[in-house]
Subunit: 352 residues, 2 copies
Amino acid sequence: MSLKLDDVVKLITPVDVGVAAAARRRLDSLTKPLGSLGMLEETAVKYATARGDVFAQVRRPAILTFAGDHGVAKKGISAYPPEVTPQMVANFASGGAAINVLSRHAGAELSVIDIGVAAPCEFPGVIQRKVAPGTADFTEGPAMTEEQARKAIEVGIEVADSHISQGSTLLGTGDMGIGNTTPSSAIIALLTGKGPEVVTGRGTGIDDGQLRHKVGVVQRILEVNRPDARDGLDVLAKVGGFEIGGIAGLILGAAARRKPVLVDGFISTAGALIAAALCPAAKGYMVASHLSVEPGHLAMLDTLGKRALLDMNMRLGEGTGSALAMCVVDAAARVLSDVATFAEAAVSGADK
Amino acid sequence: MSLKLDDVVKLITPVDVGVAAAARRRLDSLTKPLGSLGMLEETAVKYATARGDVFAQVRRPAILTFAGDHGVAKKGISAYPPEVTPQMVANFASGGAAINVLSRHAGAELSVIDIGVAAPCEFPGVIQRKVAPGTADFTEGPAMTEEQARKAIEVGIEVADSHISQGSTLLGTGDMGIGNTTPSSAIIALLTGKGPEVVTGRGTGIDDGQLRHKVGVVQRILEVNRPDARDGLDVLAKVGGFEIGGIAGLILGAAARRKPVLVDGFISTAGALIAAALCPAAKGYMVASHLSVEPGHLAMLDTLGKRALLDMNMRLGEGTGSALAMCVVDAAARVLSDVATFAEAAVSGADK
């Protein structure tokens, strides 16, 4: 398939509601009270519907973690200094980070993509796709050019395509980038219509004074750049980040090949909003993995019409929510295909 | 070890707060923002503390599903007829139920114990420990004798002991018994002080009229039997069920050997309340797996001081919440032991 953004968007079709109905009929014939597995049943329907097959199973799940830097990180909006981005990429490469541990636990392959880290990141296994060495400081102008925004998305599409060609039927998004809750807050404020003071949070852990400063930075980004909320590419270019573009592309690339994507937390959902702005039908392929502690996350999920599978006060990113939720999606697909029906097991139904 | 209830209670010691502090110190040294894995970190602390070892891992996890019948089931309090209990035990034995699918998914061994099914349940693999063929109808007198209550608990202790001797370091509770939300509602009403109309729910799916009838039944059970809320054995004997006793015993038996237990949903938490009434220190070994749709469940968990790991609108029982939550506990233990520290990975800490 072509890896050009415009072509990929044309390939994405709405999910098949006929498959959803067939999956629900099967769930209602299984030996359990109607609807008694709650969100596990809904997840099974969602997975089957995206795949277009009631009996589809999870094979070769993969977590894709995109790393990028942010010009704004010099402006005191994070608890951590910018050099932590390449240090954490090195930690991913040597297998020591939380996302390594949780990917191994989930039986998922982890791929780390340098899509825009400021420093060189040529560690073993890290996929080299640097669009630029960090974004420009968007308090003074656009984060990147429209061409760079398009390129970041196409990197994500390419990564999705490559994993799906190797047999992956479930992808999970992840991010690394000191400062990246700031562009994410700007994207939500813009795409949900909520004020920066409502959707801006503490990220990796800043204090009250730093939070007030960060809210001001988000306001300034939007005033200086005035992105067009109806144009996903313009939003990404003016107030986004390279890893956010990569995540948006990953979702679009997976949707084009009818594979569901677990959307991690706050940063990844900003990428999902960009993907939905570029192609609303892509929403049918997104599964919200967890509800982040970041105050804007719930508004993002509401905008996408999603409820998160897990609500565990997490706010780490890297793809940790995706990795943990993979277990739930896998369990859901197995319930739909493997539980015996009332007829098969000769169990009496509910009294009428 | 002895399997007598009174001896086992004496063996249970409060969990070691020194281990909790050591686990927290280690979590704070790992390459992630402080506290950023939320409940996953709390779960890691809980597991390590119960085991008495910061680096303890989950080995040979097991789900133990206790099945029993209820004299009250003839009184129209369930959507399903009582013959479904042995039919579902047969379904467990042939591997077709949701708990079979979810136990396999979790890599957990499933054991099914007939602790009081009315009909014979001699299916392959089902452990035969019938205390009696179903409880008496407790709208007219006690559900069982105090001797039977003690015996049910000791069956649970024996099952825990046997699995732990074979190497299990994490157990999960499960139940099967048509009608068993009714005794569970009576137990909560008694042990949380909330009215039957607040804590009685729709179980497997009854309508408004049946729900009003069920609330009346719960009120009648408590008036007729007047159990002593301070005496766990008296509560179990008068308004409980054999599977609830088995679950209470499983928790006590595991606590005596310092192994944590995932408590499934509504019925299992009634068992956990009985265990806590018999031995408050046992609470330190309980992990709440999921929040049930049943309205009384939150009050039960509050009484035990627990927050559930999952909140997915589930209400199936069988141990399905325990099986799904095993993945989270396993992930938590791996994070605590396997993630690299800031020093090991040469990553910069937060700015001061």
